[in-house]
Amino acid sequence: MSAAPKHEQYDVVVIGAGPAGLAATTATARAGLSTLLLDENAGPGGQVWRAIGATPVKNEALLGADYWSGAEIARAARDSGAEIIHRATVWSLDRNLELGVSVGGGSAFIKAKRVIIATGAQERPFPIPGWTLPGVMTAGAAQTMLKSSGLVPDGPTVLAGQGPLLWLLAAQILRLGGRIDRVLDTTPRANYLAALPHAFAFMTSLYFVKGLAMMREVRAKVKVTTGVTELAAAGTDRLESVSYVTAGGRRERLPVELLLLHHGVVPNVNLAMAAGVEHRWNELQLCWTPVLDADGNSSIPGITIAGDGAGIGGAQAALWRGRIAAERAIKALRPTAKVSDLSPQLKRAERGRTFLDVLFRPAKQFRIPDGDTIVCRCEEITAKDVLDSVAIGATGPNQLKAYRRTGMGPCQGRLCGLTVTELMAEARGKSPQEIGYYRLRAPVKPIMLSELASLPKSDEATKAVVRG
C-alpha cells in the first residue's frame, strides 16, 4: 500500500482521497486515463468518510447514513483501475505539473498531464485564550478518533462553537456512550436575522431536516448555552476550566478536561498556493479560495481544484465538483470523448450553502484575538506581538515573518494564516485581500533530509553510497 508510484508520468494525478478525489479518480480511470491517486491517510474517505473501510464502529445507525454513503464511492475508486497510494505526502507541485511525493521513507518525482487538487478543508483556526493547552482540541479531531478508533470523551467535556459539524459530532459522541457536559453555542444572535433571506433555499435543501433532527437529539441529553461570548480556556500545563459570558452577560466557569472547538471549516490551500494558483479573499466564507472557472480550472493550466479546497461546499458538492474536474481532464486529454454537463447536479448539491455560510459566520472576537492570546501556535506568537510588529513597520504576513517568524514553523501557517491576515488587516485599516497571505513554498509538509536525498537509511547502505 505504501509503495512508490509505479510510473514517472501519468495522465492524471489526483491529490486527496476524500469525496472529490475519489469521484474524480473513478471517472478519469474509467475513461481510460492513467490515473494516480495520492492520499496522506491510511485509507480512503478523507475527513468526512474517515476510516470508511476500517472503522470499528460497525453499527450503521451510530455514524449515520451520510457517513456510510462513502463506502460505495471508495469501492468504486478502488475498482476503477486507478493506482491508489495511501500514506503518500505530496510535498511539492509546480506550474510544470511536476510533483514531489514522499512514500514509505523515500521521495519520488512524478509528472502529470493534469492535476486535480482535492485536498479538502481544515478546521478554521479558533484562537481563544488558552487554545494551545493540552486538552483543547478541534471537534474534527474528536470525530476523527471516533470514526477511526471508536474513541469517545469520558471525562468532563465541553463542545464550543457553531456549525453543523459541532452538532453531528455531539450526536455521534452521545450515541457511542461518550460524555458531553455542555454545548456552548457561539452563533452570534445577529446572524439569524442576516441569514433569514437565504432560509427558503436552505429549507428546501438536503441539510435542513437532518440538521434539525440532530440538534433535537443533542438538546434532549445535554444542556446547551446559546449566545456565548468571551470564551476562554484556562489551566496550568493542561486544560482545567472553560469560562465564557452568557447571552445575559454573566461570566460562568466550568471545570473541564476536554474542550472541543469548532466554528466551521476553510479550504486547505497550502499545496495550491505553493504551486502558484491565484487565490482571492472570500468575504462570505472569510477565507482564501482559489480563482476558478465553472469547471474548477485554476490560474495554472492543467491544475483543477475540486471539493472543499475550491471553497466550502460540503461532501455532496465535493462529489460533483470531483466529477466535473474529471470530465474536464478527460475532455482535455481525449478531445473526442463525450462528456456530460453536470452543473445542474452541482447546483442542487450547493443549495442552502449560503444560508449556512451566513448563519454560521464566526464572530469577529473568535477570529481576531487580542492581547496575550496565541496566534501562531508553532512559534508561540501572540496577538500583541503581531500588533507590536505592525507598529514598527510590518505591513503584511510576509514582512511579519522577518519580525516574528509567524507561519515559519512546521504547520506553515495553516493555523495562524487566516488570523494573521485578518488581524493585520484590521490593525492597518485595509481589506484582507490588500493585506494578502503568506507566500507559501514547497515542501508544503516537512520532509526528512534523507527522504529528499533518496538515500538508504541503514549505516551499511550509507557507507556504501558515500564510498561509491
Binding site: 491510511a42 486538552g135 479531531a141 478518533m145 477511526s148 474513541l151 508561540e380
Partner: protein, 98 residues
C-alpha cells in the same frame, strides 16, 4: 480523556511509550493510541517548552509531533500503530541523528 467504544472488535497490539508497554488496536494512529492510553503523553514545544497534546488529528497542526522508532518529528496522527513500535515523547528540540 477518551475511552474506547465497547464493541471495538479490532485486533489488539502492543506498542511501547518511553519503554512502557501499552495496548493499542490495529488501525489506531499513534496519536489516538497515545491519547487512549491514559498516560501523560504531553510533549514540550521546541520554542518555549510549553506542554502540548494533539489539536487537529488530521495532519494540519503538528502538535502531535513524536519520535517513532528513533525518527523524530513524525506526525503521530498520520502514522498507524504497528506491533512493537517504540514511541518517545519529544521534549524540546529533538536530538539530531534520531
Amino acid at each position: 480523556m477518551f475511552k474506547r467504544a465497547e464493541d471495538d472488535g479490532r485486533r489488539a497490539l502492543t506498542i511501547h511509550v518511553e519503554g512502557q508497554a501499552i495496548s493499542a488496536r490495529e488501525g489506531d494512529t499513534v496519536s489516538a493510541a497515545l491519547l487512549a492510553s491514559g498516560l501523560d503523553v504531553r510533549r514540550d514545544t521546541a520554542v518555549s517548552g510549553a506542554k502540548r497534546l494533539p489539536y487537529c488529528m488530521m495532519g494540519v497542526c503538528f502538535d502531535c509531533l513524536v519520535t517513532i522508532d528513533g525518527v523524530g518529528n513524525r506526525q503521530g496522527c498520520l502514522v498507524p500503530v504497528a506491533e512493537g513500535m517504540q514511541i518517545e515523547i519529544q521534549k524540546g528540540k529533538r536530538e539530531i541523528g534520531k
